[in-house]
């Protein structure tokens, strides 16, 4: 029941000095808006970076042969260590040899010129297996992707950019068209819908031509498998798989060193990075809030000086020192709450605009709001304590003696 009195008095006092109150509120408002906006932006950035990756890359792993061998030193010596077609064939058995691997797609990039109707296409040629479609989550626009039964047939599938180029040069359908890759002629059997990308796969899918490894092996014997993509079973332990794969390779290709990267590891490190980013932004906002807090303290100290008489009179008619402290703290809490909440509302708009501007998905994280609110409140209380203490220390006689 006495709380009602404190709050009423505090509100009343704040209302009596509107300008001062508004200034204090603005200080907190700017700080809280900064904290919430920056944390939200950090969260949105994190979400943006992780979302597509999570759907596509969560159960992916990639395996790269370390290039610490000197290929020119002597062909015989290093022959077995070059990740060539044989290596690719061994990799394909991984799905059956190592538990929890579902699909395997060795990927080799051929740097051969590609021509269509006599015109050169700027298109890297990617030699891989049919599994690549699942791994990279490719959607088919027309026709089909490579198939297991294609074997070494000279079939190719093109990315959306290449498909467009082929269309520009002729009719609507591109199925059955002939591309010249190096010295060989390949028949287009399908095209891929525009691909949004995947942090895990570095190939430029939209601008590439896909052929099967077996076909590539036929006309370009010096294949170099730069990456092998692996699809892991959901909820499998990537670290275990990494060990198993390395053991398998060590037995088959002694001396071969590989680096395995798994999606989970990447997500962990990305999340970590982004969290650091978010915290940094939050910290910057926190500094703004600190300034706001000092503003509250300043405004309240002025208020204590201006209200010496009132405080003295309150003490003289029987208010306890604690009453005075609580009253001033209540004022600080009210200022901080109003500032904090308005700041949050304003940051809602700012975040919306920023999201709109960056074409990010708009997200207002609850944790940002909670952090913003409680940090504002804490700031208010923290910086209100000293003025409240100052106020309660006043000696009523000093005030009463003065006219």
């Amino acid at each position: 029941m006495k709380w009602k009195f404190y709050w009423r008095e505090a509100l009343n006092n704040l209302w009596l000095s509107k300008l001062r109150s508004i200034l204090a509120i603005i200080g907190i408002l700017v700080g809280s808006a900064a904290v919430v906006t920056l944390v939200s932006i950090g969260e949105m950035a994190k979400y943006k970076a992780l979302s597509e990756f999570k759907t596509l890359g969560m159960n992916l792993a990639s395996l790269v042969v370390n290039q610490n061998m000197d290929f020119n030193a002597g062909i015989d010596l290093t022959r077995t260590l070059i990740p060539d077609y044989n290596y690719a064939q061994s990799m394909l058995t991984l799905a059956t040899k190592v538990a929890n691997i579902q699909e395997v797609a060795p990927v080799a990039t051929l740097s051969l010129p590609a021509y269509y109707a006599g015109k050169k296409l700027e298109a890297p040629i990617i030699a891989t297996t049919y599994s690549y479609q699942t791994l990279a989550n490719l959607q088919i626009q027309e026709g089909r992707f490579l198939h297991r039964l294609d074997r070494n047939n000279y079939f190719c599938v093109v990315g959306s950019d290449i498909a467009n180029q082929l269309k520009n040069n002729g009719s609507n359908s591109i199925i059955g068209k002939e591309l010249q890759l190096g010295n060989a002629y390949f028949t287009v059997i399908g095209s891929i819908k525009p691909w949004i990308g995947n942090a895990f796969i570095s190939n430029n899918v939209n601008g590439s031509v896909f052929i099967s490894l077996a076909a590539a092996h036929n006309f370009a014997p010096n294949l170099y498998i730069d990456t092998t993509l692996l699809q892991l079973k959901p909820d499998s332990d990537p670290d275990q798989i990494e060990t198993d794969v390395k053991n398998f390779l060590a037995a088959k290709f002694p001396g071969l060193e590989v680096t395995v990267k798994t999606g989970k590891q990447l997500i962990v490190s990305m999340t970590h990075q982004k969290n650091v980013f978010t915290w940094m932004l939050g910290l910057i906002g926190g500094i703004a809030l600190l300034v706001g807090g000092i503003g509250i303290m300043n405004v309240m100290l002025v208020s204590v000086t201006e209200r010496r008489r009132e405080i003295g009179i309150r003490l003289a008619i029987g208010a306890r020192r604690a009453d005075i402290q609580i009253m001033f703290l209540c004022e600080a809490i009210i200022l901080a709450t109003i500032g904090g909440v308005t700041g949050i509302i304003i940051s809602l708009f700012i975040t919306r605009i920023v999201a709109e501007f960056l074409t990010w998905e708009f997200m207002f994280s609850g944790s940002a709001v909670l952090i913003g609110f409680f940090v504002s409140l804490f700031t208010g209380i923290f910086f209100g304590i000293y003025p409240a203490y100052q106020a309660s220390k006043l000696n009523p006689i000093d005030v009463l003696r003065a006219e």
């Binding site: 029941m1 008095e9 008619i317 006689i397």
Partner: protein
Amino acid sequence: MTNTVLSCDKVCKIFDDGASKVHVLNNIQLSVNAGETLAIVGASGSGKSTLLHLIGGLDRPTSGQIEIMGKPLATLNDRELSRLRNAHLGFVYQFHHLLPEFTVLENVCLPLLIRGEPIETVQKAATEILEQVGLGKRLSHKIGEISGGERQRTAIARALVTRPQCLLADEPTGNLDQHTAHHVFDLLLKLNRELGTSLIIVTHDLQLASRLSRTFELQDGILV
């Protein structure tokens, strides 16, 4: 229960600001019973206000003991002093000391609100007492909007709203004309009769002082 509302025993007050010592009060001996009325007169600077502040527990004596309602003030902590001041004593200060931003009614409500009483009963009590001092029609005026005499009466109402056992008034008629001053005194004496409140009133006006049951003079720190 003792009939003594207030007693001072060998109370001394020395202001010591390092360089010089000011002996303001010297062995004050005083006892006030319930319902008694007391005038304290004395030259300016003789220590009248100081004595009232000591009695009100706003300041502590250099030596000696003050008891209010049988409780020695020296044994009370800040919090208990505040409660005692709020519960048993009413103060009318030399410069009335009302809160100018608040209305007449709000000023009078304050001592009861500080106790934590619900606002409805507080407003009822405050309105009642303000009617008694003749300010029933000025409740919602700001302090700045009323006359000096009305302020003085508001201050009296604020002091009495808690129904104190003892009212301490420091020149309550200080800046009032003769006529109004007598009117305020009428009021105080009426409340003394009706509520049994002891009055300790500091005044320069010997004529007003003579209307009270006892008169003391402060001279060189001694009550005579």
